[in-house]
Symmetry: C2
Subunit: 121 residues, 2 copies
């Protein structure tokens, strides 16, 4: 049996588009997704789940209604469930997201920024 590791940079090299999470692995009913971000996103929350951000490259800011967190390479942050947040990246950020299967990137907000789920690379 051949077992292969998942190389994050090799996965990031497979696509250029931003704000479109790609599933690279699953653990039980959770998904590991990579995404490239740049610019501003929309305010949203996830009513039923926490959401984990691990920054691989670049500097991510996540705004909250009462503050913000800056997350750099090698850093992570868990956004608690039901807390409104808005990601922002001045330059491109390469991000690893971890959350349960079925979570939409825009939470319950919907709209044109909603990405397709379960896109695997």
């Amino acid at each position: 049996m051949i077992y292969e590791p998942i190389n994050l940079q090799r996965k990031f090299a497979l696509f250029d588009e931003q704000w479109t999470p790609k599933v690279i692995a699953e653990m039980n009913d959770y998904q590991f997704k990579i995404v490239k971000l740049e610019g501003d996103f929309i305010w949203h929350d996830h009513k039923d789940t926490d959401e984990t951000f691990i920054v691989i490259e670049g500097d991510l800011r996540i705004d909250f209604r009462d503050g913000a967190v800056h997350i750099g390479p090698g850093e992570m942050f868990v956004v608690p469930r039901a807390v409104e947040h808005k990601p922002f990246a001045a330059g491109e950020v390469k991000l690893l997201l971890i959350e349960p299967r079925g979570v939409a990137n825009t939470g319950h907000e919907g709209g044109e920024r909603t990405a397709q789920n379960d896109v695997r690379i």
Copy 2:
């Protein structure tokens, strides 16, 4: 409100001991644990859950009964539930583990290599 990112290298700098996972974050009922590994571990499995390994530094080998996977920095691997495995590191490895709360490092094997759970740093 002050929001602080979790810096993995700063967390790793807080301890020297090996084979003792430390919880650095929680997401729903899952935990993010960091651990330093070197040398050989024991054969074990986790009957009820997958287990995710993300290598931060060093080279980790995980042996299976029918093969092995080599995981380097920036690479990850999900060991499926109930699959026997044995981690090995020729030099020290800094590892991020993700699994549900309550999972023992030795699975159901127990013994002297079993680490205390829920140690937070």
